[in-house]
């Protein structure tokens, strides 16, 4: 050994100093990323008055399910839903008391993934197949999904469906430009990132507008001038979110 005690201490000191500078460089980089604040935050506002007026309307979910190759399976146990209609009582349990407007209780309205700011499905996913993008959209990466269904248990809104069977055994889905899913993966509403990137609104919003109902509004809620932000702040309407007490911070708002 020709390393003297002095050489060893010099090398050790140098290592500590350089490791420290590397750590501080990384720490600096991550804090600057967090402070970058002009990323959009996509959100949806559902006008219940307009939506419930059209009780039999199926335009939003039909448009979505056709475009995203969501199958219409006969067995209800295998049902797959991205967006669907449910009675008010199911969306907001207990909101209409026994002396309230009982008719409104029964009227269906649209529900979908809430794209929570604090999504429990993302927390429980062991493979990070589902994740929250910087713009707040909670998406599924079916390539990574192992079909454990923790996310289905984690989601308090029932927004997720599992492919118990091969959805398109004949490989002939309605939209040949969009992929299908295989047996054994979970799927859900994605807020149509492939359309957002082109500056278009999701299929459901487009279908609702086309039908002249205009119950769905989509936009960047972090922008104070956006239509969703204005609707959420409207003075004359009650604005509800589903199960806010769970702390998931849903980003689908309901105007009652």
């Amino acid at each position: 050994m020709d390393t003297t005690r002095r050489d060893f201490l010099k090398a050790a000191g140098f290592t500590v100093v350089s490791a420290g500078s590397v750590v501080s460089a990384f720490a600096g980089a991550s804090s600057s990323e967090v402070s970058g604040g002009d990323v959009a935050r996509w959100a949806m506002v559902v006008d219940l008055k307009r939506c419930q007026r059209e009780a039999g309307c199926d335009k939003c979910w039909r448009a979505c399910h056709t475009a995203h190759n969501v199958p219409d399976l006969d067995d209800p146990r295998h049902e797959i839903k991205w967006i669907w209609k449910a009675p008010f009582e199911h969306i907001f349990p207990g909101q209409v008391g026994e002396y309230g407007d009982l008719r409104r209780k029964e009227l269906p309205a649209v529900v979908m993934c809430n794209h929570c700011d604090n999504p429990p499905c993302v927390k429980v996913c062991p493979t990070r197949a589902t994740f929250r993008r910087d713009d707040g959209v909670v998406v599924m990466d079916p390539h990574r999904c192992i079909g454990c269904r923790y996310c289905i248990v984690g989601c308090p809104y029932g927004s997720r469906s599992f492919n118990f069977v091969d959805p398109w055994p004949d490989r002939k889905p309605p939209n040949m430009d969009y992929p299908t899913r295989m047996r054994g993966v979970v799927e859900k509403c994605t807020f149509c990132p492939e359309r957002i990137v082109k500056g278009e609104v999701p299929y459901c919003v487009e279908a609702c507008d086309k039908a002249g109902i205009g119950a769905l509004t989509f936009g960047d809620i972090s922008d104070p001038g956006s239509s969703v932000r204005k609707l959420v702040q409207s003075a004359d309407r009650v604005v509800l979110r589903r199960k806010p007490e769970l702390g998931t911070r849903p980003q689908v708002y309901y105007l009652v």
Partner: protein, 159 residues
């Protein structure tokens, strides 16, 4: 030491069994696609259609000699995985520069704007199924030959 016949029968049947795939192939006359030929045919087919963007990815020497794109043959799977992660996880849909037009968007080839996608990009030119044929040719020529079965088509669909 009188088991000579048994041993010979055993040896012969062993040889017949182990070499049976070769005999079966010869007997049934199966024409196994030779991947190089298929890829060369594909290159020739695409060269006949000028202005297709992937030629840019090919080296000058390969293009001059009409040889397939070695880099793509070796690395297409890694490229596809990289694209998949960029598009699905990072939302980065910018097409590679060798597919871009002057405005930085995907070029329009055969009436379709190329996207950073296997089915919406590569397969616009490299048609998986040729018209009138029931067999998968271009992709599967090599995949069948090396006995791999990519699971892309479990979900993705090709028009």
């Amino acid at each position: 030491m009188n088991d000579k016949i048994k041993i010979v029968i055993g040896l012969v049947s062993f040889l017949v069994l182990t070499s049976s795939p070769f005999w079966l192939n010869i007997a049934t006359g199966t024409d196994w696609a030779r991947p190089n030929e298929v890829v060369e045919q594909e290159v020739a087919r695409l060269r006949a259609d000028p202005g297709l963007p992937c030629a840019l990815k090919q080296s000058d020497k390969e293009r001059a000699q009409g040889r397939p794109n070695r880099e793509m043959i070796d690395k297409h799977m890694a490229l596809l995985l990289e694209w998949r992660d960029q598009v699905v996880r990072d939302g980065d849909r910018e097409v590679p520069e060798w597919w871009q037009d002057a405005k930085g968007q995907g070029r329009v080839v055969r009436g379709r704007r190329l996207e950073k996608s296997l089915s919406g990009g590569c397969l616009v030119c490299h048609t998986k199924k040729k018209p009138g044929e029931t067999e998968y040719k271009f992709c599967d020529a090599c995949h069948t030959y090396v006995q791999i079965d990519p699971y892309c088509w479990d979900c993705h669909v090709v028009p």
